[in-house]
């Protein structure tokens, strides 16, 4: 509450859905997460940007799957390891993120946030 003046868009505590990617823990704001799926068949899209893993059939809706390992410049997922699909909804459009595995939903106090240091990760300080 005390920080409300500072950043109106960020509530005092925010809930993050966390997941593992190449041994690191990441989080996305929970209100963007629509659902989490396992073992989806993915249709590859030739000539698409490398981060696009392909298309997923989400109950009749065709959703683009983004390989986060590629997007975050991590090594490719080892053979035989099935990714977990996190479907997020942004600006009304659903996009699915491929991650290694899903972890807990955590409450994070806004005051614990630190300015990001790396290119594209927001790590909750624990």
């Amino acid at each position: 509450m005390s920080t409300a003046t500072e950043a109106r868009t960020v509530p005092a505590t925010s809930q993050l859905a966390t997941f593992w990617l190449d041994g690191d823990l990441y989080g996305v704001e929970v209100e963007h997460v629509q659902e989490v799926l396992r073992s989806q068949s993915i249709t590859r899209v030739p000539l698409a940007p490398p981060a696009v893993a392909g298309l997923i059939n989400l109950r009749g809706q065709v959703v683009t799957a983004i390989e986060l390992r590629e997007r975050l410049s991590r090594p490719a997922r080892p053979e035989g390891e099935q990714p977990v699909v996190i479907v997020v909804r942004l600006h009304g459009e659903a996009v699915s993120l491929l991650v290694d595995s899903i972890a807990d939903v955590v409450d994070v106090d806004v005051r614990d946030f630190e300015a990001r240091r790396t290119r594209s990760t927001v790590r909750p300080a624990s």
Binding site: S41, T43, R44, V45, P46, L47, A48, P49, V52, G54, L55, I56, N57, G60, Q61, V62, T64, E93, V95
Partner: protein
């Protein structure tokens, strides 16, 4: 006329709707008597009813509406104020109009509905002093007295053409009588109402007064007179303006009104969003149906199979039904065009007649909207640039009046719309020259194109500047935009033209966007969908045939499909994936794009199915190969190939490659270039090799169609006269002369074509012949050993000149200088150059 009935019916539906709106408006108006908008809207409604009823000769209806309109116009202009009495009179009028409409609907005529009292009431309030309060009884009488004075004053204008002069008088009389009747009624009701209201304040009393009159049928005995006055003089002046009639969409409609009857109940306005939602659901249903049908196909349970068959059937019918709800006749957008043509014709000083065929052809509303602008553009283009000025037309021996024809029809699940004019047409030679000049094409590439292909160049973006248009043929302003628009809805466009005779632009539009029939194919292990709209045929070649029929020309493969060279595009190559077809079989989907055909080589064809087009994200669209995605019967996602983009991408790349190759060859003549040669027998056991890239087309011509012009032989070919050279005679061989069909190699350049007749087309071979010799003869450039046989290399230029001495003189600029030919016979590479 096919339907006065239709007109009446439409009028009824429209009027019923408008009256419902009117009820609400009038009531709302009481709350806010100064709302000009509402008054204007009410006025328009009544005005329209008046106009249409006059037109349809419903005189009583017209009369009521007329008086109502008078009142409304005064209210609108602020000359009168809206009092409850007047509101009531108006509501009464609405009721009367309803009753009349009901009678018209039931019997086709106005029946015995009495209008006199309504007219009187309206006239009365019209004459009313501006006193906004209750209508005191005494005033009712004077009102009646004034009626005759007022009515004739207006009437003459309306009844100018009426043959019977006494009409106004009669009408006045008719009005007078009921007015008198009505007047006494008022006090009665007032009295009845008075006791109910303990403190009869003037205003509520006034409200009560009008509430009652509509209810009891006033037994008036004058109506006999009414039908006798016939002045329909006003009728033609007032066709209803459609725009004004359309009520606000999404307006809440009250439940069933007592006045509404069969006709009105048989149609209903539905929110387009709702239909869209329904369409989506039906799409999902179709997909689920596909899945179930596929699944049940593997089952043996008879009941399940039967149930799934019924599901199949019902889903199809449902799909069809929902699609129909979105269908509208193309006339909706055509109806504006006569005006466009007329105005533009006047502006350009041309006389153009617009003819329409198939205006009832229906297509999806969304598509209709999308086609509107491109179509208007095409029509404008035709009038502006297609049809010649009258003087030019008469000079050319054509009728002075140009004809622009719009045609629409359903054709194999698509709607074909044509815009055809009988104007000057487009000259492919000029178009081609322009394209070269603008750097859109090399003379080389141009020479390989057929006139039909060249015409499609008008759709190139670079062609769309005004200068190009006036200089070339007056075509092409924004044609690329038209094309883009049509393609964005999954349609195709092509243009055909006969110089001097006219131009026809043809649009092919899918019936609906949401669900399209498609061919599913497999490539590199993945499945893709190709919209059927682009698909022409499928060709499957086994390894042996494929090896013989699929040729490499300068790094690009072609297939000879019934004599025409079909450029092939390997989908796997385009996608950058390894094909998983290793047995040498070739499956070709012959596709059409922009009036050109090409063959898409795929691994295998799977099925045809109805697919539901799903939007894909922007990143996918940007790739420029996929127009969307769909979910297949088994739930897997498949990409829908964008055939136009594919063609553009693949064929352009291929052309560029070939041109590069050619440039390289011309720079270093010494370097032996791989060259495809067409091998032909010319009789007497002689074989001739002709560079394949000079060949435009292979044809067969029946010998009896060969005609003579002087000493030359010609044949009619695609609307032109094609000179023939018989290679056997040209080269002094002795071939058979009495064959029924002639094998012909057509060579075209800059709109001129010649045909070279050979005895038999043997093969297409790699021309990398190592053994060349300068042993030659007249008409030859040398000889070479190809496939263990000595083969003569044809001097194509000489052969062509033998057929058409003027062939090269018409387009000298675009042609490489003769110096490029090593006619000395030293370089057998000479024919490899562009001829």
């Amino acid at each position: 006329m096919e339907g006065l009935d239709d007109i009446v019916e439409e009028f009824l539906v429209e009027s019923h709707e408008n009256l419902d709106q009117l009820d609400q408006d009038l009531v709302a108006l009481e709350q806010d008597p100064r709302s000009r908008d509402r008054l204007s809207s009410i006025f328009r409604t009544i005005h329209t009813i008046k106009g249409t009823s006059g037109f349809l000769a419903f005189n009583r209806l017209e009369e009521v509406a007329h008086v109502g309109e008078n009142l409304l116009s005064r209210l609108r202009d602020g000359a009168l104020e809206l009092t409850p009495v007047r509101t009531d009179a108006l509501l009464h009028m609405v009721d009367t109009i309803r009753a009349l409409l009901a009678a018209i609907e039931a019997s086709g005529g106005e029946g015995s509905v009495v209008v006199a009292d309504t007219v009187a009431t309206l006239s009365a309030v019209l004459e009313d002093a501006p006193a906004p309060v209750a209508v005191p009884e005494p005033e009712a009488a004077p009102a009646v007295a004034e009626v005759p004075a007022e009515v004739p004053a207006e009437e003459p204008v309306e009844a100018l053409a009426a043959p019977a002069k006494p009409a106004p008088a009669k009408r006045a009389a008719a009005k007078k009588a009921p007015a008198k009747k009505a007047a006494p009624k008022t006090p009665r009701v007032t009295k009845a109402a008075a006791p109910a209201v303990p403190k009869p304040a003037p205003v509520p009393a006034a409200e009560m007064v009008p509430a009652a009159p509509p209810a009891p049928a006033p037994a008036v005995d004058v109506p006999k007179e009414v039908p006798m006055e016939v002045p329909v003089a006003e009728a033609p002046a007032l066709p209803p303006t459609a725009a004004e009639l359309v009520p606000e969409p999404g307006e809440e409609r009250a439940g069933a009104q007592p006045g509404r009857r069969a006709v009105a109940d048989s149609t209903i306005r539905v929110d387009v969003d709702l239909l869209d939602a329904l369409m989506l659901l039906v799409g999902e249903l179709v997909l689920t149906r596909n899945q179930i049908v596929q699944y049940v196909g593997r089952q043996t349970d008879q009941d399940l199979v039967r149930a799934s068959q019924r599901l199949n059937l019902i889903a199809s019918e449902l799909q069809e039904g929902v699609m129909k709800t979105r269908m509208q006749p193309i006339d909706h957008i055509w109806s504006k065009l006569p005006r466009v043509v007329r105005d533009l014709g006047l502006q350009c000083g041309k006389s153009v007649r617009l003819e329409m065929e198939g205006r009832e052809t229906e297509l999806d509303k969304t598509l209709l909207e999308a086609v509107k602008d491109p179509l208007t553009h095409l029509v404008r283009n035709s009038v502006d640039h297609g049809v010649e000025p009258t003087a030019v037309r008469t000079a050319a021996g054509k009728p002075a009046e140009g004809v622009l024809t719009l045609r629409a029809r359903h054709e194999s699940g698509q709607v074909v719309v044509e815009v055809a004019d009988d104007g000057a047409g487009i000259d492919p030679v000029k178009i081609g020259a322009k394209a070269v000049e603008r750097g859109l094409l090399t003379p080389d590439a141009l020479s390989r194109m057929s006139p039909a292909d060249i015409l499609q160049l008008v759709f190139l973006p670079g062609f769309s500047t005004a200068a190009a248009v006036t200089n070339v043929s007056g075509r092409g302003v924004g044609m690329d935009v038209v094309k883009t628009n049509i393609e964005s809805i999954g349609g195709t466009i092509e243009v055909e033209s006969v110089p001097g005779r006219g131009t026809c632009t043809r649009l092919r539009i899918p019936l609906t966007l949401a669900i399209v029939p498609a061919l599913t194919i497999e490539c590199a292990g993945d499945r893709y969908a190709i919209p059927q709209i682009s698909l022409q045929e499928l060709v499957a070649l086994d390894a042996e045939k494929a090896a013989a029929a699929v040729e490499e020309v300068g790094g690009a493969s072609v297939y000879r499909l019934r004599g025409e060279l079909l450029p092939l595009v390997h989908l796997a190559d385009v996608l950058g994936l390894p094909s998983d077809r290793h047995d040498g079989h070739v499956v070709i989907a012959v596709l059409r794009s922009e009036g050109r055909r090409f063959g898409l080589v795929v691994d295998r064809v799977i099925n045809t199915e109805e697919i539901v087009v799903k939007a894909v994200g922007g990143q996918m669209k940007a790739i420029g190969l996929y127009s969307g995605a769909t979910v297949l019967g088994d739930g897997a996602v498949a990409l829908i190939l964008d055939v136009q983009a594919l063609a553009r991408r693949a064929l352009r790349a291929e052309t560029a490659e070939r041109q590069e190759a050619r440039v390289a060859a011309s720079v270093t003549i010494a370097v032996q270039e791989r060259q495809r040669m067409l091998l032909a027998a010319i009789g007497g056991g002689r074989r001739v090799a002709i560079p394949l890239d000079t060949v435009t087309r292979l044809e067969q011509v029946r010998s009896e169609t060969v005609e003579r012009v002087g000493s030359r032989e010609v044949v009619q070919y695609r609307g032109a006269i094609l000179p023939i050279v018989r290679l056997d005679r040209h080269l002094g061989a002795f071939g058979e002369t009495d064959r029924e069909t002639l094998e012909v190699i057509v060579y075209a350049d800059h709109g001129r074509s010649v045909a070279i007749v050979v005895e038999e087309i043997l093969d297409i071979v790699d021309g990398e012949a190592s053994v060349h010799s300068d042993i030659d003869d007249l008409g030859l450039l040398g000889s070479a050993v190809i496939g263990d046989r000595v083969t003569e290399l044809l001097d194509v230029r000489a052969a062509i000149l033998a057929a058409d001495p003027a062939f090269y003189t018409t387009a000298p600029a675009a042609f490489p200088s003769p110096d490029a030919f090593d006619v000395d016979g030293l370089g057998s590479t000479a024919p490899l150059m562009e001829v």
